[in-house]
Amino acid sequence: MSDERTPQVPTEEGRSQEPWGAGSPALTPRGTPQRPPVAARSGAEIHAFPETAVGEGDVRTAGESAAPARGTSLWRDAWKRLLKNRLAVFGMFVVGFIAVAVIIGPAIIKALTGFTYDYIPAGNTVSYPPFTAPDGSFSWTHPMGTDAAGRDMLARVLQGGRISLMVGVISTFVSLIIGVTWGATAGYLGGKIDDLLMRIVDVLYAIPYMMIVIVLLAFLGRNLSPLGQIFLLFAALGAVSWLTMARIVRGQVISLKNQEYVLAARATGVSTPKIIFRHIVPNALGPVIVYATLTIPSVMLQEAFLSFLGLGVQAPYASWGSLAQEGIQNIAVFPWQLIFPGVTMALTLFSLNFLGDGLRDALDPQMRKF
């Protein structure tokens, strides 16, 4: 029944982009069975929590051809649906909390205790367990303990979170720009250009690109300052995460381009940029937002993976990945050094994934069926 009130944006073109569109793998004239996009790389669009749709046979009543105009009410409806999804609300809350914590947390800790992420207490380089004072009694001073050099873990986890979240957001933004430009160009221009651009995407999918990123960071990163390395990381991860975004945007643009209302706009002489910005961009926004939300955790995971290997964020900066790398060296004796950054990161990714899932369900009830 849900399809009565909502516009039906994804048509066949959009559907074939879905990895779970198992029923109808598109047959492409190019000769390759067009497999669903390489979901795992992004870790994103696999997340589907389809709800039961009643749409069996006759129960569907009229209004199936609702106009694909996403007015403000659509966004309001989506927001309402999002708030109904408890897991998504939980995710939103946790992500919000962690974002605020990593932004203002370090300053608060400094004001309260004087610890910063790189403050090494003189003379004492023992790693304390959580809530433990030097004499072994209970203490609020280091709620997450200290690391091998005696630095406050809480301050380090928060500081690491800044970098990790920043990498997630900025790299996703980079991938967004490349992916949207690429996909929109291919979809809008169509024909041979579309063929060429998407063929390149197909080809890039099949490359073990993480190995190249490793080489890039190991060789080019070595001569950069730690800050420069972080920027290289943004660029590198953004540059390898845009493929699926390009496919999604292209699918959206193609299906929207052929919608009656866009054809009508064109027929009445509306200019191309106006069509793109007034009609296509707002309507393609939903899936892009959803996918971007799901790209953030996957990029964060990749950053952590690289930092864990010692190739990403370097001292004096820290990220959750590099903290975990430090922690694993002392896992047997000081497990909290790994557990706190690891669990914080897992919780953040968990919440972001739930939020992304919830956003998809809310913004695109069509997709819930799949």
Binding site: T52, E56, G57, D58, V59, A62
Partner: protein, 357 residues
């Protein structure tokens, strides 16, 4: 009327509801009818009127959740299907009652050869060996008029056209010589020329095997000439029930009249506007129970229609209509002046297929 040797299927006050975000959808809300052995019953109605749900309820194939058969009886040979254990129902499905669905393009398993899909059903119900089942599959394909059946039986569904696939579906449905065949909009998804062929096929097979048939359609043109009786459904209710000829010649319900009028008349002069029932089918989830569901769209509606649920009026021995003004409408139809559906020959095949959706 054909032979009258007893009732095969008797549905009593069937109610099937769906729970949705918007509330309870009463897809089928108190349907009753009988089907006699060897007869063909047409169920006509717009999309959403509950005709498919009625028939899925008969073999308990309502997706649950969200659907639920709330009450009623489905007596098949006097035995209530709704109270049978699951494995007993399964012995009926496909063997004694079988179904043909609307969309032949999606109703066959795309990953399985036609032969296997046909063999499966006779191996299950008739205990055929592989060889027997295979031969039977070939025979069934020949029966439904697939040329060169033996060489095509091992093809996959996508190698068949829509009409051919529907023939395969019919072959599958008739494999075990069922007592009842339910055809749910069997021609809606097909081209007009193919529609006529498929209807002709069902008609012939029915005559040869003596199977009872329930033919569900939204297209009055389809049921003309196919059925003995017709039920008109609207908003989960039976609006009118009558022998086919009587219904076409003398409808006793404003809704039926509207349906008949909206069937295009080939003799209709060009430029004349085709009749359309005003408004849209109702939102079954938010229908006030105390009013006539058709009141908003009815040309004959009066105050009482919005206040009281209409009675199911018996107009003659076999003719019933759900309307406050059933008798008046019935009498009015006798004059013939307004019988808009008169261009449909109730005995013949449809001149107009309706062209699907």
């Amino acid at each position: 009327m054909s032979s009258q040797n007893g009732t095969l299927l008797s549905i009593k006050d069937l109610r099937t509801y769906f729970e949705t975000e918007d509330g309870t959808v009463r897809a089928v809300d108190g349907i009753s009818f009988d089907l006699k052995r060897g007869e063909t019953l047409g169920i006509v109605g717009e999309s959403g009127s509950g005709k498919s749900v009625t028939n899925l309820s008969v073999i308990r194939l309502i997706p649950s959740p969200p659907g639920k058969i709330v009450s009623g009886e489905v007596l098949f040979h006097g035995q209530d299907i709704l109270s049978l254990p699951d494995d007993e129902v399964r012995k009926i499905r496909g063997k004694r009652i079988s179904m043909i669905f609307q969309d032949p393009m999606t109703s066959l398993n795309p990953f399985m050869r036609i032969s296997r899909q046909l063999m499966e059903i006779t191996q299950l119900h008739l205990g055929h060996t592989r060889e027997q089942a295979y031969e039977h599959a070939v025979k069934m394909l020949e029966t439904v008029g697939i040329p060169d059946a033996r060489s095509r039986v091992d093809a996959y569904p996508h190698e068949f056209s829509g009409g051919m696939r529907q023939r395969v579906m019919i072959a599958m449905a008739l494999s075990c010589e069922p007592e009842l065949l339910i055809a749910d909009e069997p021609t809606t998804a097909l081209d007009v020329t193919i529609q006529a062929q498929i209807l002709e096929l069902i008609k012939n097979l029915k005559r040869e095997t003596g199977t009872s048939v329930i033919l569900i359609t939204h297209d009055l043109g389809v049921v003309a000439g196919m059925t003995d009786d017709i039920i008109v459904m609207y908003a989960g209710k039976v609006f009118e029930q009558a022998p086919t000829r009587e219904l076409f010649e003398r409808p006793g319900n404003p809704y039926t009249k509207g349906l008949l009028k909206s069937v295009p008349d080939p003799a209709h002069e060009e430029g004349t506007e085709l009749y359309q029932i005003p408004g849209l089918p109702p939102d079954v989830a938010h229908l006030p129970p105390e009013q006539c569901p058709f009141a908003e769209r009815c040309y004959r509606a009066e105050e009482i229609c919005k206040k009281e649920f209409p009675p199911f009026v018996q107009l003659n021995e076999e003719h019933f209509s759900l309307c406050h003004f059933a008798e008046e409408v019935y009498d009015e139809s006798r004059g013939g002046a307004q019988t808009a559906g008169s261009h449909i020959d109730p005995n013949g095949l449809p001149l107009q297929g309706g062209g699907g959706r």
